[in-house]
Symmetry: C2
Amino acid sequence: MSPDSTPSAEAAAAAAPTTRGPASECSGVPSRPTPQPTADAAPTIPATQEATAPFSFTITSRCPHTRARCGCFHTPHGPVHTPRFMPVGTAATVKGVSIPQLVETGAEMVLANTYHLSLQPGEAVVAEAGGLHRFMGWQGPLLTDSGGFQVFSLGAINRIDDDGVVFRSPRDGARITLTPERSMAIQMALGADVAMAFDQCPPYPASEADIAAACRRTHAWLERCVTAHDRPGQALFGIVQGGCYPALRAESARVVAGFDLPGIAVGGVSVGEPVEEMHRIVRQVGPLLPEAKPHYLMGVGSLREMAIAVAQGFDLFDCVLPTRLGRHGTALVGGERWNLRNARFRHDHTPLDPSCSCLACRLHSRAYLHHLIRSEEMLGRSLLSLHNLTTLLRFTTAMGQAIAEGCFAEDFAPWEQDSPAAHTWTLPSAPTG
Amino acid sequence: MSPDSTPSAEAAAAAAPTTRGPASECSGVPSRPTPQPTADAAPTIPATQEATAPFSFTITSRCPHTRARCGCFHTPHGPVHTPRFMPVGTAATVKGVSIPQLVETGAEMVLANTYHLSLQPGEAVVAEAGGLHRFMGWQGPLLTDSGGFQVFSLGAINRIDDDGVVFRSPRDGARITLTPERSMAIQMALGADVAMAFDQCPPYPASEADIAAACRRTHAWLERCVTAHDRPGQALFGIVQGGCYPALRAESARVVAGFDLPGIAVGGVSVGEPVEEMHRIVRQVGPLLPEAKPHYLMGVGSLREMAIAVAQGFDLFDCVLPTRLGRHGTALVGGERWNLRNARFRHDHTPLDPSCSCLACRLHSRAYLHHLIRSEEMLGRSLLSLHNLTTLLRFTTAMGQAIAEGCFAEDFAPWEQDSPAAHTWTLPSAPTG
């Protein structure tokens, strides 16, 4: 079995956080290398911003065996401790989850979608309310995407050219133009802590020529975004594209990094490509990103993929899957997906995930959740969404803790060649005992 | 305008609790009569049970001008302070409301539906879980209805006779028989604090002969329920029927009261009759109920009707309306029903109800709730349900406080002839200033 073998990596990544206690298993193992203190690591890659600036990223610990790091991204609405999953609140609400419940998941930065909000209620209404934080009642850090992903994936596109995108509104058929300047204007009106550059994100598969064209446009648009963006207290992140073509990825990483923005994202993954392609992109691009900036891998939120990406120096993740799965009655438990509608849960009066302390697991049983899902009750969808978010937040928190304690490579990235546990992955088949 | 005039009574009942502060407005008004101390009132109607028994009802204050009283119904899962609205949790969940949120509404006793739970998940599953409290995670008092109302209103009835009711399951068409003994068996398996007798509740209108037959059957079934019911720690309440026929109501009240159960309910209201008929029934039957027992008016939960009923000595209420309205985007504010989908809320950035401290009002604006409802977001339905429940709980709590402070008749029942405010209702038209 190769070190990159997908099922085994999944098992390792999934098993670690759901079975480990708070930090205790991470100490006292003789073979574990001493964690490298932050002070020693800092001189290698000096931070480019002060921790007191409106936006700064402080790396507090590094894994001695992989590129994994944990740190803190400071925003005007508070710190984001990385690595960290970011729940998606498309229409200024994380579906089915109240604000106090969202706080309980451990979420620090929450996403909202520029495309959806510009159509309903419209950015003017949000601005009128005093911005997105006040509009939705979330006082922590917020990030808005650029709207580009939705336009390319959902919209009935009429025309794409170097100026921007023309599409038909799904609400009333109206002709809408989205350009880098318009995306910036909407995002500045929404007033999240982080705005994303307007990029062209082609679906998979696409020819090298098409991806190259999308990259050229993405880079030109990034320049226009930088020029158009002038909201104090809001950071702009650039997005690396390049599809599955290593040369285009390298070139895009170089160009986007050159803008020296407070953060950098990798897009064009999780767009339909095989998962091995995604791993390859993550492994190639991670090391090309400027180390002192937070690295955001867009649209990725499965345990294994987040662990692989953290090992390559990624810090932030988002994905609609935990809430979408929850709404459809599926719970993430022990690295597996459980369909709670299944009859095997009818008489199972144990907690959903005994290792989890979310409301669903603390107060309710599998049999009750099964009953709620069978009865099409809102509460069932809401509790499972809450649990799934909690699971991803717990997982990224556990990775951060492991990095700080020097056991990330062993517990979360045993497949990495430099991991103290790498020997468990070099055999033709993984040992069972 | 007559003292019973519906619109004016509504206005008075609605205005009082939403504009009054906590107790302060209730003191220092010279014309207000001194509240009659509980000790003075007690000898008139001695309590039949000790406050320390598993089920007992203690009257703590009485209104000197109406039959209103406030008290405490003690159950094995804690006290229920009356008068009090009881949220309906049909399928062992108050739709869209989590258990911590339900606690925040001020709810003390919660309903669940025997009919629904016997079909899904089945009472055996609930019993297996250790009963309804543990199954749904609600540790406060619970009450289950008898299933009769649903059978008569929802079910495809095949046959009703003196034995019971045969109907087709809406799930799989199976032939199901519900009898007093079966209803008791299900409710004992569910294990709520209060079980309701299996009654026949005819829809409105019905002939006097039909109602008389339903009453005879209800009384015979009550006797069988009493015989069949033997779960310690669970109280059985009888139900008065009689439709809109005063003689039948009086006879039913006499017969049901004769069983001397820990509580007594009035059913067969809110079944399609004009609201004036309901008021008439409430005014006739209230004084006929045994004073020392808690009085439960089934299926009623509008502000005006609860105020009228409290003035006639009713203590407990339930209704699906607050959650059903909430799910459909309607909020109860200041005695009115507001459709939050309405465009007039689009730019309204004020709190839903500034006098309310529920999550929806504390954290969100009308514009945000409008946006959630327009976007068909679960959170909108859930927040409005929460607000509506909070409003009814607040209203019944405010009535209890007014009773304790001696200002109930003035603030909540000015139309009652003995109210200090009765003169405001005796003019041909209500004064405007």
